[in-house]
């Protein structure tokens, strides 16, 4: 849609999801409709402050949604924006989850950390197009159970037919209803899906991805059915600035969603 020069996007509503985390609903000031894939991202910029990559959460009532966690300079400034303030938007960039390819399969979503936006967006899509997919398995790990965002969403998914939602808390001392103690990878033992007809989508820290692999192998999931959303430093979002390289890949251009076999040699290698 745009590459080097941003277009304007006006902030219509900010929904605070939890302290330090908010969803911005943006009205994109453009003639052409904004089309994107789940898993793609935009480069959002604030005047005089900076530009950062943010995954596309969704599109609702003509507004584009981005969920942003305040971790540093730019992200903090963004979630503090006032209604009607404008920011710059470039995108969408990169490759998203190839959800059409997964039709007719079981979908397994594995996420760790707080609010893994690209995965939630994909779940939303799968749920909206429920009949195209078979079973949906959602595994989410957090530190404390109240770190879980969109709790109502998880509850709703859980009650949906043919959908399994498993939650794990790693730093909790007491087990809660629906919750397991430990890391998200441990949930894989309880996950029920058809490893021959599935697509696994993972988003989170690289160590978690690495840790998940032996469990998936145990389930006899094939490498080619696994997809990962990777994160690196982005300056341009267009495969030019060189910051996001993992081995031969430019994460912004060849990813951020990767087919596991493509990045397998590089995953978890320190320094790449």
């Amino acid at each position: 849609m745009t590459d080097y020069v941003p277009i304007r996007a006006r902030l219509m509503v900010t929904t605070e999801e939890s302290p330090g985390l908010a969803t911005l609903h943006l009205k994109v000031q453009s003639e052409t409709p904004f089309t994107f894939q789940f898993g793609q991202f935009n480069m959002l910029s604030m005047f005089g402050i900076g530009e950062i990559p943010i995954s596309i959460m969704g599109w609702q009532d003509g507004l584009l949604m981005h969920t942003i966690r305040a971790v540093g300079r730019v992200s903090t400034a963004m979630i503090g924006m006032q209604k009607d303030q404008e920011l710059g938007l470039r995108g969408p960039f990169g490759k998203g989850w190839p959800l059409e390819k997964f039709e007719g399969r079981d979908l397994v979503f594995i996420t760790a950390g707080l609010g893994c936006a690209p995965v939630v967006a994909a779940i939303n899509y799968a749920v909206a197009h429920r009949n195209r997919y078979r079973r949906i398995v959602i595994l989410q790990g957090v530190k404390h159970h109240n770190d879980l965002l969109w709790q109502p969403k998880y509850d709703a998914w859980r009650t949906m037919g043919d959908c399994q939602v498993l939650l794990a808390a790693s730093e909790e001392s007491k087990r809660k209803h629906h919750w397991k103690l430990g890391l998200v990878t441990a949930l894989l033992d309880d996950a029920e899906f058809d490893p021959r007809h599935c697509a696994v989508m993972i988003c989170g820290p690289e160590i978690m991805m690495l840790a998940a692999m032996p469990f998936l192998q145990k389930h006899q999931v094939r490498d080619e059915d696994i997809y990962l959303s990777m994160e690196r430093n982005f300056q341009c979002g267009m495969g030019a600035c060189g910051h996001c390289q993992i081995g031969p890949h430019f994460v912004c251009r060849d990813g951020p969603v990767f087919h596991y076999p493509d990045v397998k040699p590089w995953l978890g290698v320190k320094g790449f």
Binding site: G48, I49, G50, R73, V74, T76, A77, G80, Q82
Partner: protein, 266 residues
Amino acid sequence: MLQRPLKVAIHKLTSCSGCQLAFINQGPKLLKLLEFVEFTHFIEAGLFAPDQEVDVALIEGSVSTHDDLKRLVNARQRAKLLVSIGACATSGGVQALRNMADDKENWKRAVYAHPEFIEELQDCTAVATHVKVDFELWGCPVTQQQVTECLRQLHAGVKPKDNAEKLCMECKRQGNVCVLITQQAPCLGPVVRTGCGALCPSFGKACYGCFGPSEQPNCESLTNRMTGFGLMPNDIVHRFAAIHSQSPPYQQQIARWRLQDLEGSD
């Protein structure tokens, strides 16, 4: 984002005042700055209100007297954020060279007939030695861009962007020919923080480090290399015992090469 001007106090401790000049020496840019900054205390410009509460206190100068210390503590208490500006405030500055003296009393005697009139602290130290510092602007002197940019970011409600990149990077962007390679000049660029615009190399001379240590300075390797250019241990000591002699990475080299110097002279 503040909807009102940022309240700023500028305090001076022991220094040459050169960093404060970065404010009043900037011409029309000063008028632009005044659109979002309100100076409450700025003695050099004639404003005196050291006890007023402010958003930001900018501290120029190092702590070398009891009075410096008293005023610094007061400035800290009155300010939401405290930013140290310049070599003196960030690492002690040139006057901190006195800390290296073996016999401090004699040093004073060399300059003043009656050193007993002079009341001072044992060492001359950086601001962060005494109070919490929220942000540091390095340089001797700091540039007007650094200061303006810092205040603009604080006004926008974000932390200023730090840049501890190596001077060589800026030097290359400017298209300078490296003086270390062509003249074997003892350029400190590879261990000095960017910010001045690579001035010295652009004049064909070696950087003497007025912006202080960069990120991950490998002074060990650089000084090893300098011995290859014929620099004697004592020459290397003088390279680092200058504007930022008290910064830990430079201190290390001073100590290391002083020792070499002593061993060599035995």
